[in-house]
Amino acid sequence: MVVAILVWLAAWALFTGRVFRSGVLFIAFGLTMAIAWVRLGAPDIALAEAAIGAGVIGVSILHAAVQMADRERREQRARPDGPPVEARTTVPPRWSRLRGRTLASLVAAGALGGILVGAVWRLPEAPAGLGPLVDARLSESGASHPVTAVLLNFRAYDTWLEIGVLLLTALAALAVRRETDLRTAIRSAGGDPLVASFTGQAVPVVILTGVLLLSVGTFGPGGAFQAGAMLGALGVLLYLAGHRAVTAIPGTTLRLWLMLGIVAFLIAAVAPLPAGDPLLRIPSGRATATILAIEVAVTASIALTLALLFVTAIPPRDPPMPPGRSDRA
């Protein structure tokens, strides 16, 4: 039933006429997907999906839709005799315009889906897979949660490269903005007292939850990605409330902060080399400390990357303040 809901939400989100509605449906889709992950026995992924997929990305889509609508309304008011400008926020429902290309891609997607389902269906009854191997060596990995042990010790190299990909994303976001000085992205708070009080109450809670997720990751579902997603969402919240927390970070600190995760991995990788051990060999004696240190650095980088993706990708609603004018308030 969850699968049926997922497919229905996805189809609705794709074929609905309005971008804003697609964004809301995307969030609903992300949350349903998180439920699906829980049903499949993967709470770690469920947490990450809910936080990043439904949370940060969903909010980005909604923000973009609102920006588009605002711009159209401004243009509409500037040219009151012009043609009604609803056209650009509205994507005409495509049922009536099913062209050959759309149909072909639908058929191809269906065929691929069918092949995948068939392949999984016919998998031989595998002997428990890698699970027992992981369980056997869990005690020397430094974490008692098998997912964390795999992510940060047994397959730490993969996680290292993932952090590298995230760094590339952050660089791309900064490149879109064409500058690393975020101070032009500051938006005025609007002075709404409810927003201020909500932010004031929410910020400590979110920080605590993020730290909790990070520390629980060693022995339960949680970990660096989930904590980073929470703190990234916090950055987005602060930015939307008009706070200068994210945008006031100077360019050099920004770059160093983004690099924290990958550098932590680099240090952990290179450290065993002088003793003649292979790259990224984590000694089982200091495994927990190493994993925790890496996770803290990774969390910081992920949080800033996610907040940055939001802040840089969309031009601010208010006209940007020139960088010369310093807000040394």
Binding site: R73, D192, L194, V195, F198, Q201, A202, V205
Partner: protein
């Protein structure tokens, strides 16, 4: 006994959330839809959390559920206010 009362609470909660969703679809404009959602959904959610608390297997879980309920209240009030604020001002041409 515990399961029975939990069941009653959960079903009542689901009924209220359903009523809120019907209101979402049927009310003509943003403000009345918000009204339906804010009242009915929050009540339904509160009942669902109450049902889960009754079924909770440890006091820690129950406390966490109550905290979640409080956080959802906080977030949904703020977002309802913000939506209403924007709807009012947008139609005013601001």
């Amino acid at each position: 006994m515990r399961d029975a009362s939990a069941l009653v609470l959960l079903v009542a909660g689901a009924a209220f959330v359903g009523a809120g969703t019907v209101g979402l679809f049927r009310f003509p404009d943003v403000l009345s839809r918000l009204h339906a959602l804010a009242k009915a959904d929050n009540l339904g959610f509160g009942l669902i959390v109450a049902g889960l608390v009754v079924r909770a297997d440890s006091p820690a879980t129950a406390v966490k559920l109550v905290l979640i309920w409080l956080l959802v209240l906080l977030a949904s009030t703020t977002s309802a206010y913000l939506i209403a604020h924007r709807a009012l001002h947008r139609d005013g041409g601001a």
